[in-house]
């Protein structure tokens, strides 16, 4: 079995203003695999997701990020999206007055344009949304509402996964996708995510609770602490982490 990397992070350092948050991240997510990053609040997990997506508040001071072999650090956020990087936000942003359907179409067509493809026809688009929406319990009423405005926690996350399904990215980064979800919503969202697993796609699931990983079972778990990966292992590592707490791993690193 070949393990071509979909995402390769090499010695990544990043700071916001004068504070260094990522302190040499090394990570490889091969195609077809789902990796989890676990770590306590403030360890830099979310920063990693923002830096990958290209948020300009963060300055990369060292390192490389290769997406399917291409260095994306010089790209604008939209170019990274077109290249196949998708970030499911921990706190999806409200876009007042823009119907979810309108937003989906704008995003899809922007990405198609970026790849030099023609705009999707309205019937094809409607079919695609309907198919993807059914799996995620997203009905037409929700699609007519302004994106994320007045959405419940579960609706917001389902809308994120719906976008992910439609945009069909190569590399999905899911930031705390379980936050704000009750157990039923968690199931729906997890099933949605699992349905998108495939040999040509990789995922990086960021969480600090093991419970998400009962539903989205990772191939590899990485422990994140103080701006870097301190431990990697099979999915059982998540259970060990839950039992021991993060303190043990911090200790190892400090030693």
């Amino acid at each position: 079995m070949t393990t071509t990397p979909m995402l390769e992070i090499r010695n990544l350092h990043a700071r916001i203003e004068d504070r260094e948050i990522l302190k040499g991240v090394n990570l490889i997510v091969p195609k077809g695999e789902v990796h989890a990053i676990m770590g306590r609040n403030g360890s830099g997990k979310s920063t990693l997701s923002y830096v990958l997506a290209g948020r300009e508040d963060y300055e990369v001071t060292e390192g490389e990020v290769l997406l399917d072999g291409v260095n994306i650090l010089e790209m604008e956020p939209a170019e990274r999206a077109v290249a196949g990087l998708f970030l499911a936000f921990q706190y999806p942003i409200e876009i007042p007055g823009v119907a979810t359907m309108t937003f989906l179409k704008a995003a899809l067509n922007a990405q198609r344009k970026g790849r030099g493809e023609a705009e999707i026809s309205t019937p094809d688009f409607m079919r695609a949304v309907k198919t993807a929406g059914e799996k995620l319990n997203v009905d037409s009423d929700m699609l007519k509402r302004a994106l994320n405005v007045g959405f419940s926690g579960g609706e917001k996350k389902r809308a994120e996964i719906l976008q992910m399904a439609l945009l069909a990215p190569k590399m999905c980064v899911l930031d705390e996708t379980d936050s704000g979800l009750d157990i039923d919503a968690l199931k729906v969202v997890s099933e949605g995510v699992n349905a998108l697993r495939g040999p040509d796609r990789a995922m990086l699931v960021i969480t600090h609770y093991q419970r998400l990983l009962d539903h989205i079972v990772p191939d590899v778990v990485h422990v994140f602490s103080d701006g870097r990966v301190v431990e990697s292992g099979p999915k059982e590592l998540a259970l060990e982490l839950e039992a021991k707490g993060y303190a043990g791993f911090d200790g190892e690193k400090a030693a």
């Binding site: 997506a53 939209a78 970030l87 942003i93 876009i95 309108t102 937003f103 704008a106 995003a107």
Partner: protein
Amino acid sequence: MNKYAIPTLKEEIEDATVDAVLSLDVDKYKYGFESHFETDKAPKGLSEDTVRFISAKKGEPEWMLAWRLDAYRRWLTLTEPTWAKVHYPPIDYQDMYYYAAPKSAQKPKSLDEVDPALLEMYEKLGVPLKERELLAGVEQPRVAVDAVIDSVSVATTFRAELNKQGIIFCSIAEAIREYPELVRQYLGTVVPVSDNFYATLNSAVFTDGSFCYIPKGVRCPMELSTYFRINEAKTGQFERTLLIADEGSYVSYLEGCTAPSRAENQLHAAVVELVALKDAEIKYSTVQNWFPGDKDGKGGVYNFVTKRGDCRGENSKISWTQVETGSAITWKYPSCILRGDNSRGEFYSIAISNGYQQVDSGTKMIHLGKNTSSRIISKGIAAGFSDNTYRGQVSAHARATNARNFTQCDSLLIGDKCGAHTVPYIESRNASAVFEHEATTSKISDDQMFYCQQRGLSEEEAVALIVNGFVRDVLQHLPMEFMVETQKLISISLEGSVG
């Protein structure tokens, strides 16, 4: 004072502030071109002779000339409003032409007879004459276009079909000749001759514009549309529009504008008067996209417009919808006088300013009758170095029992060099009146921008999408013909506003 003047309140909106245009930096104007066809000009400057020249050119009756001369003499006694904190160079009213008309004496009978340069100009603007559709046998959408190029109606369409219903839709000049009794009955009854400096000037020298009369009980079967263009360098544009909806009638009127580039500033001082009689309804929609000025601070239209509707009869309704994206200076307050009992006024506005544009716009809802209601939704978007002011007045007079108003003013700022201001005047002389005013000011957040970009939208696409969402409440009130155009216009207007 005519008998329709407002009894106690003085028109206060003339206190409007219009800010200066010091150096204009907007070179994004897509419609910067000039068509070349021959014109017939009045001598430069303004005098009684100019007024007589215009009146003679139009073949007007004596009463009309007298009306104009009266306005001219009143205008001489008025001074240009100086209370505004404006810094635009003084306008030399003697250094302008007050009449310019395309030379062709005969009105074209078909598109083939229309000046190809004219057609080409519309082509560039993306507003083809809908006549083509008619000629091609297209049934829908049916839009009658009374195309105004440099003050003279060049092509009027759908005439016959409208005639069948008894609807009159023609140039004001023609109306003065053909329907003098209607014009005399209504002209100047909503916006009196001496209403304000610019309206008075307009009354003296207006060169053309549209006239529309909807007879009793008739529902106008199509949207009426006029595309205004200013095309001759150094020509002030003084349009006069008079629209009367007789009892129980309905009409939707569209007015859309673009203008080519030029070096001189252009003064535009139009007057629009609407009269809605008992049970009548008028819907008046405008898209204004005049040249905002070039990057060297040259040009740019000064848009000083007086628009007012009179809900003269019971249960009448007037609804203004405007999309303002152009002009260097906009000074415009489409208003409603709610005279008839149970009458209703509405004002929906999108005003976008970029570069160094100054927008001072809003409305007045003057409640005179019982159970009158009004609704104001204003969306101001300021980008670049622009200033965007909503200025509005809602008043209830002593007899206006149960007057109701709801006002919502939302401002959106793009960048940190622009300004948004909201100046509401609320006045009630009747204890039963209920007025509500809501206002918000927001910015496009970095979070929103990042979120949209993460989904693949460019910065400009993201701004356009967010702004389109912001204005959606108003957009929904536009006729279909204007919605698509407006969405495009929003993108064009905000180009270069980020980054």
